[in-house]
Symmetry: C2
Subunit: 340 residues, 2 copies
């Protein structure tokens, strides 16, 4: 297999680290690897497949001679994405910077893999909650069409990075010891609490996170007629986002049919054996690459309704795994760019 | 004001203790107070309004000469409810034993207060998640009718009593120290986890908790045409249940209209100022008697849709406060029974 030159931008953060884990686990065919980050993290040593790498500060020249740049998130892709593309390096961007750009494919490999083929240098990785939802929605959509989705999320603190994890741990300790631990990463105390507010507020008092679940899903599914309404909530869980998803389909699916369809779907694991208390839970879906679906029930309040409970690791499938899968598709469809 | 004889059955549990707090806070007009529990807790001393009471073991004779019996929960009302009624003592029952009995009113004072007047000795207190939801639904229903509700809950561990609280605390400590702490009150680990399973599984793989939210709401609202589908989830929060509620109304309500209607509704406090990060959170709605509503948004995916985020203390408004309010209605409507 052809080996390629890969640069990871933001290699020292939670998503960057996970990208490296997944490149290793999936044995991605790497020729040269380069790790980049901001000047603050430059100089950090990271081991990958038995070899030590020194993290470099990202510059336009970081992309010279490279085939694929995996951007972990933040503003880096705004600053360096165009420079990478100019040099013939395809950008896979985990930030929201380019997701709704009509010139940029937004790809979930289980849903719209062929969209990588029309890239113009940048491919966007969707929002984590969106990825986890659409992997479960796609097989239902293919079988019965989808008219409307009402989704409520239960999102882990690691969606806010390493600082989110530390804030939960330290705040929980403080609460148990009767000490104060003021919030800094989150708007309010997250220990033993829920915060119905993720990202900034936008139109109609929905958050940006809620609008992402609407608009990104329509783009990925190539269907702007799917109606979606979302309420996104931060919960005191370390890792894996969970979602209560109510679906109105075009045509009837029984719960048994939905289970069978989901069980055969790529990237989905059905965990639904209520007699034995089996259903997805974030604690046990963490560090996994699949999306877990359970509590699959017909919703008797509409002619064609289903309820699902979905959970998935938002750092893996919701970010790093999905990005590496996109890189694999670039090789599979042979659509890298010519290096300049 | 007339003073009455009150017996609290299950006085030593979480709900029983809260009933005593609320009888005191609301200055309920008590003549004689009697505290009862199982033989295991009999002999416990409890102070109420400066006086010490020794908890007695419940027997049929516990109700002789008493006007109102507040049953905190469990099977006690099955065993002793009829004996209380025979003696002319009105039973206010927090368990689910009689809730769906057509001879028994199911009452939320902000919603259907007049239903206390047709009691035949027993009045049922609804499920905690149901109470919290219907207090928010009623003003919307009165203003615009309700066709359909899709609700996902985020329920605190104290819904499972004192042992639920202890299990969360001890398990969180164990996880932080790297120790095992196997679940006992809950089906799985609740520390840093979510469990999409409350009470036993029933028809169509919905839980009993989910069916309660459907059937009790229809009974309280006197409208079996309201279509409700629920997904109930346990979260690692100590106290106060939260609910993401999607409502399809008969007639259009703007978000501004819904806010105004809710702000004027009895028992409701609107917390909805997203610019200042104000919305209900369980940490700050605990130990309160009201139901808090925020994130009030139009749902653009149906002609007449609303999304609400609702939180309320499930031990107070969801149980003890509601029960004491029912007792107050018995006095207001003068519908105690004749003592025998």
């Amino acid at each position: 297999m052809k080996k390629v030159n890969v640069v990871v931008v933001g290699a020292t953060g939670a998503v960057g680290q996970e990208i490296l884990n997944i490149l290793n686990e999936r044995n991605f065919p790497i020729n040269n690897l380069k790790l980049c980050a901001t000047s603050r993290s430059a100089g950090t040593e990271i081991e990958f497949q038995g070899q030590k790498y020194v993290v470099e500060e990202t510059t336009p020249e970081s992309f010279t001679g490279m085939d694929i740049a995996l951007f972990a998130g933040g503003k880096a892709s705004l600053e360096y994405g165009p420079a990478a593309v100019e040099r013939g390096c395809v950008v896979i961007d985990n930030s929201s910077n380019y997701r709704m750009d009509q010139e940029v494919p937004l790809v979930v490999p289980e849903v719209n893999p062929e969209d990588v083929t029309w890239h113009k240098g940048i491919i966007a990785n969707p929002n984590c909650s969106t990825i986890i939802m659409v992997v479960a929605l796609k097989p239902i959509y293919d079988a019965a069409g989808i008219k409307r989705v009402v989704v409520s999320t239960y999102q882990a603190v690691s969606g806010a990075g390493k600082e989110g994890i530390e804030e939960l741990t330290e705040q929980v300790k403080a609460v148990l010891e009767g000490r104060e631990y003021p919030p800094s990463k989150f708007a309010h105390q997250i220990a033993f609490n829920l915060i119905p507010h993720i990202d900034v507020f936008q139109d109609m008092d929905y958050t940006k996170e809620e609008w992402k679940m609407v608009k990104e899903t329509q783009k990925i599914m190539h269907d702007s007629s799917i109606r979606i309404t979302a309420t996104t909530v931060r919960v005191p869980v370390y890792r894996s986002h969970s979602e209560s998803v109510n679906i109105e389909t075009e045509r009837k699916l029984t719960a048994a049919q939905a289970k069978e369809i989901l069980a055969q779907a790529p990237g989905v694991i059905v965990q639904d054996d209520v007699a034995n208390k089996v259903y997805p839970m974030p604690l046990f879906t963490s560090d996994k690459d699949e999306v877990f679906v359970g509590r699959i029930r017909e919703d008797h309040t509409v002619d064609n309704g289903l309820n699902l409970w979905v959970a998935g690791d938002q750092i893996r499938k919701g970010a790093a795994t999905n990005a590496v899968q996109i890189a694999e598709l670039l090789l599979k469809y042979d659509c890298l760019m010519e290096k300049k």
